[in-house]
């Protein structure tokens, strides 16, 4: 069963519905025991980095996530949930993240383009396509809404998009994965990303 971590940040309605649509059982919870015994974990998030980290720490869920990550549970961070996986963010100050993946989160250097980077943009996978994208093709579009992006994480990048330069769209380090875009808002293809995540076997990562 998939566990969607509820730590009081963001709207979980669509995420929960999208698991219903792909016929996968998912439970929304803030219970650390449930998170630690989950088969796989979704870490959602919308809003500000510092506030979200604060809520994870206050509820002790940061430690639960760390234990789950260490024992190999597949974790998928979405949007802000992905950003939290990194060591640091520079959104309104300097804030420490979960540190599961090397890298940091900085404002997208847009050079005259609009922020947030909001809308549908194309994915580029590089040389090797990660199992998360097994149902997608190079150039497929997904939905983004963000003003900050992960940098300094080259070894973990599994997809990029183009917005005034290359922008990190998805990352993976063994069992810890993250999408900057919203699979639950990316139409049929987005649902296939969630399906692929549910199908990932530990040995594949």
């Amino acid at each position: 069963m998939t566990v969607i971590v509820d730590y009081g940040v963001g709207n979980l309605f669509s995420l929960r519905s999208s698991f219903g649509a792909i016929g996968e059982e998912a439970v929304v919870t803030s219970d650390s025991a449930e998170i630690e015994k989950a088969e796989r974990i979704i870490l959602p998030g919308v809003g500000a980095f510092a506030d979200a980290m604060e809520k994870l720490r206050a509820s002790g869920l940061d430690a639960s996530l760390r234990r789950a990550a260490e024992k190999g549970t597949p974790i998928l961070g979405i949007c802000l949930g992905m950003q939290l996986l990194f060591e640091k963010s520079y959104e309104y100050g300097e804030h420490e993240g979960l540190g599961f993946i090397e890298g940091e989160v900085r404002p997208i250097p847009v050079d005259g383009l609009k922020l947030p980077h909001m809308g549908w943009n194309a994915l580029a996978f590089g040389e090797k396509k990660h199992p998360l994208f097994r149902y997608l093709q190079e150039g497929d579009y997904v939905y983004f809404v963000h003003s900050y992006a992960a940098v300094g994480c080259d070894p973990s990048v599994i997809a990029r998009t183009e917005y005034g330069g290359a922008v990190t769209a998805a990352v993976a380090k063994r069992n810890v994965l993250g999408c900057q875009f919203h699979p639950e808002k990316s139409g049929a293809l987005g649902l296939r990303i969630l399906k692929a995540f549910c199908e990932i076997k530990e040995g594949e990562l």
């Binding site: 219903g20 947030p116 909001m118 809308g119 943009n121 808002k185």
Partner: protein, 255 residues
């Protein structure tokens, strides 16, 4: 490259999608959930739901319809109509909305924009503005286009963005329902003064109107329309192909 968005708008009253001409002459036409599904499958990039009911019964029916749509359609949903308080934001966000559009509610209390942006983020707050030319200036109208507020539209939009609106829907009352194309002059004026995405609304009658919009005004991010989609006068899949043929970045959905 980020694509130009095509956004069908569903005006919902008593649980049904309706469409009027120049803000009057409403009539009921279809099930919002079915329409939303069709649009999503044919490549709509986003959907806007406007609640045009006044009664509280109608409001409950609207949130039911919204939740039912959000359970079945996995593209961004924006909700507007009757949004006056943070509690209204909360009500529709809990039913699956991703963005909330404010109009008369923000005119009555401009602090609503900033308060909502602080809680839900700028990206969640869409400022929808109904604009009409009065004595040669762009004037903001409230209450579904019936009431001249006396506000200068460009000033109001600038203020809205500085308060925290993350997106502007510019609806030209002068071209709405006329089907002779978007109000390019008005859209140009607005897109030159703001740094957030601008969605063009009012006046699209055919595919060519969208092509002209994006070619003439590259700063406009999206085109919104209602009846031409509902009645099948413009098919989204064809529109997207035509955009691509004209080198306008578009997301094509394989059917």
């Amino acid at each position: 490259m980020i694509t130009k968005r095509i956004i069908p708008c569903l005006d919902v009253r008593n649980g049904q999608v309706v469409k009027g001409m120049n803000f009057v002459g409403l009539r009921e036409i279809a099930s919002p959930v079915e329409l939303a599904k069709q649009y999503s499958e044919s490549g709509a990039d986003e959907l806007v739901f406007y609640d045009i009911t006044a009664s509280s019964d109608g409001r409950d029916l609207f949130t039911d319809v919204l939740a039912e749509t959000a359970r079945n359609v996995f593209i961004p949903l924006t909700v507007g109509g009757g949004i006056r308080t943070l509690a209204d934001f909360d009500r529709v966000l809990k039913c699956g909305a991703d963005k909330v559009s404010v109009n008369s509610g923000a005119i009555a209390d401009p602090s609503l924009i900033g308060r909502a942006a602080k809680v839900y983020g700028d990206q969640c707050v869409v400022l929808s503005v109904d604009v009409k030319r009065v004595d040669g200036v762009y004037r903001v109208f409230a209450k579904g286009g019936r009431e001249d507020t006396g506000l200068d539209a460009l000033e109001w939009i600038k203020r809205g963005v500085s308060e925290g609106a993350g997106e502007i829907v510019l609806n030209s009352i002068d071209t709405d329902g006329v089907k002779k194309g978007f109000d390019l002059e008005m859209l140009r004026a607005v897109s030159e003064i703001v740094s957030v995405p601008v969605i063009a609304s009012g006046g699209a009658g055919c595919i060519e109107d969208f092509i002209r919009l994006f070619k003439t005004l590259p700063k406009v991010d999206a085109g919104l329309a209602a009846s031409i989609f509902h009645f099948g006068e413009v098919r989204i899949a064809e529109l997207k192909k035509e955009m691509k043929r004209n080198a306008i970045p578009a997301r094509i959905v394989k059917e």
